[in-house]
Symmetry: C2
Subunit: 430 residues, 2 copies
């Protein structure tokens, strides 16, 4: 029986909104936002979309009007009462009242700031300018919107059964990964795939499939909305954005060299335990660890997000040992370009030597590789980054020169200040 009212209601919508909630975003954005709201509420930043896969000509695939409608819709969103209740009342990382009342009050009144959109040479120039805590919350919804509009563009001409089989294949593909991961003892894996997901509904499906298929090995999702709806853990700590902006704000080379530690010093004022995770690669891991103050060795773990992950983890273990710490008590989080084979290999290599967990992104929530003609749904590398802070350009080096960003003279200066030598390039797929 058709529910006539529902059918009519559905067809009354002008658009099918992609992002429908301000907490359809990564948990670490909210943690960082609270930190920024406390420590740098007036810093002015610019975030910009960067498509690292130049061959995907987004502005030819996606209609500008449709993109504007989706972005306008996001600007119309407000934190709902239930979402606010969840953020205030839920336990995150074992802690009640993770979010302070003053931050929650600000968030409850937040509307995302305006965006600037232009078509240039087959790509979208999409930027956001304003105060850091507001602008930073655009990153994830902007990425998720463009990813899903691109999916929709590719799917537009497919037949009904062709579409159903496409999703059947996607489901089969994910489930085969679940079946490969299920037998791995002690596996700890979370969904980090919000920003480059195929679509919201697909991410939600993937999360539920992982819950059923992996049980306790699936530790949660970075997506707050899905964590709330599915009653699972919201996962995430901090990102490159903090040291990048802190560094841009530094007034001297000495202050620049100190800035990554200032970030973590501010961070540990607020957080304990599994939230004290070092992200060491923003300006090169080696120098960062060599120069690290002793109090940092006490932190719980390290997230390896660029360069060869096994090398990164070995370096982490050696560093902890050199600082008199027991690596088996420490946590390594792998979160860069993971897929099943790599997860299995890393788990095997580091099991028992260090606590291991995985933040699995694009290849969990957007693996339609090889499933359409011309591979038109293959994942690609789209980011949305802080490119300026108080008028100064930001820089990221990372352990992979192919992921470096910023003006070349600034990159050179950062390399000099942080004493970054020769780096090995790794192809960036997603």
């Amino acid at each position: 029986m058709v529910d006539i009212a529902t059918r009519v209601w559905n067809h009354k919508w002008k658009i099918d909104p992609i992002v429908r909630s301000l907490i359809d975003t990564d948990f670490y954005k909210l943690l960082m936002c609270q930190s920024v709201f406390r420590n740098h509420p007036n810093t002015q930043v610019t975030f910009s979309l960067i498509n690292r896969s130049k061959s995907i000509r987004l502005a030819e695939l996606i209609d500008e009007g449709e993109l504007r409608e989706q972005l306008d819709n996001i600007r119309s969103l407000r934190l709902t009462r239930g979402e606010s209740t969840w953020l205030r009342g839920n336990t995150f990382y074992g802690k009640r009242q993770m979010f302070r009342p003053d931050f929650m009050e600000w968030f409850e009144n937040l509307q995302l700031p305006p965006y600037h959109l232009e078509k240039v040479d087959g790509q979208f120039e999409l930027t956001f300018e304003g105060s850091w805590p507001e602008v930073m919350l655009w990153e994830i919804p902007a990425l998720a919107t463009i990813m899903e509009l691109r999916s929709r563009a590719v799917l537009r001409d497919m037949g009904r059964f062709e579409l159903q089989v496409l999703y059947a294949r996607g489901m089969t593909k994910l489930w085969e990964k679940v079946e490969q991961l299920r037998p791995i003892e002690g596996l700890k894996l979370a969904d980090f795939g919000t920003r480059r997901r195929h679509s919201y509904l697909w991410q939600d499906w993937c999360v539920q499939a992982m819950m059923e298929g992996l049980g306790n090995s699936f530790t949660g999702t970075s997506n707050c909305r899905i964590a709330m709806m599915r009653e699972i853990e919201a996962i995430g700590t901090n990102a490159h954005e903090l040291p990048m902006v802190y560094a841009a704000l530094a007034d001297s080379d000495a202050a620049l060299l100190q800035s990554p530690y200032d970030v973590l010093s501010d961070w540990q004022d607020e957080h304990d335990g599994n939230l004290k995770i070092i992200l060491p690669d923003t300006f090169g891991t080696k120098g960062f660890l060599d120069r690290a103050p002793d109090w940092l060795a006490d932190w719980t773990g390290m997230r390896i997000d660029s360069g060869d992950p096994a090398t990164g983890a070995e370096n982490a273990i050696n560093w902890w040992k050199s600082r008199g710490e027991d690596p088996t008590k420490k946590l390594v989080i792998f979160s860069d370009g993971l897929d099943v084979d790599k997860i299995i290999e890393l788990q095997r290599q580091f099991k028992g030597r260090v606590r291991v967990s995985f933040g699995w992104g694009t290849m969990m929530t957007n693996d339609f590789k090889g499933l359409t003609t011309g591979d038109a749904l293959a994942p690609f590398s789209l980011v949305c980054k802080a490119i300026k802070a108080n008028g100064r350009p930001t820089v990221k080096l990372s352990d992979n020169p192919n992921k470096a960003m910023g003006p070349s003279e600034e990159i050179a200066r950062y390399k000099r200040v942080f004493e970054v030598g020769e780096q090995e390039g790794v192809e960036v797929v997603v």
Copy 2:
């Protein structure tokens, strides 16, 4: 939004009925039924379920009570007004009013006769006794019911996402077949999979997928209900049941030898064109063709349903040539144990030499092979056959001794009368 009324309604059902329509059956059963209704309305027959896959212990998988509920539900069915209108008003094989008014009137008042069900040694003994035109209509619904109850038994303990992925895999598997078949020029293929389908909904899905994926290469379905709902051709001609019962009724060896031709003589009183299809293998193809009267060479085509199909088609071509017929004007229908590779091979081998079409059964509507633990959904060989007519046992020899049935002394007599020599055995999978 949940449609509360629908949800409550759905939960009011005592069972989830498998067969919901008297025309959820093969079209050729209705054609044969009309013929039997005219020529042998009072012949008493017994049909019996025969599970050729002894290792599948059906009575241990399927609850007897559930089976009874489904069979009782089938006995409660009557031809609906819309179904009757469709049978009376539709064009079948280019002909209007295929079904005569006296037959339709009888069918509109039909209730299927009682069944007899017992558990014996892990199997069900399921038999139907009564007048031939009534009893014969049990064959397809009985088979489809047991097939689907078996599917349900296997699926009972699966998780929600596990189930969804199982169907995703099944869909992917069928679609890969569609993609292999799509490029084949001149392909003509119909669904013959009602009797051994995974479930009604699955067959209906497969048919729709074939419609979208194969376009005009998909010529229709043997299932009348689905043909009606999807507005496509109902496909089918005649089956072994006719010569088997005609043979059992023969009073002498001479009459026995003549009986297969009597069947076709009765048939051509009613039918023309693409319905004049010879099924030559009931008592051995070679002798049947050697002794065939000249008028039979004029028939449109031949259905190859046992033995090596390529050999069968070569024999048909040679026979037509020997009778002065042009094989390129004739139709060969392959319908035995087909899957994609075989279809492609046969099409390639006979294209241009004879008109070719395929009746694709079990591996179209029930290919879940390799998709569950212990391959618990793998198709198996279940039939429901006329075993007695007016108190006498029936016999089938076919071109594959593994498909022979009947009491051994009767098989010996038939082999003698029909001069069947050495036969090559082919494994019967479905």
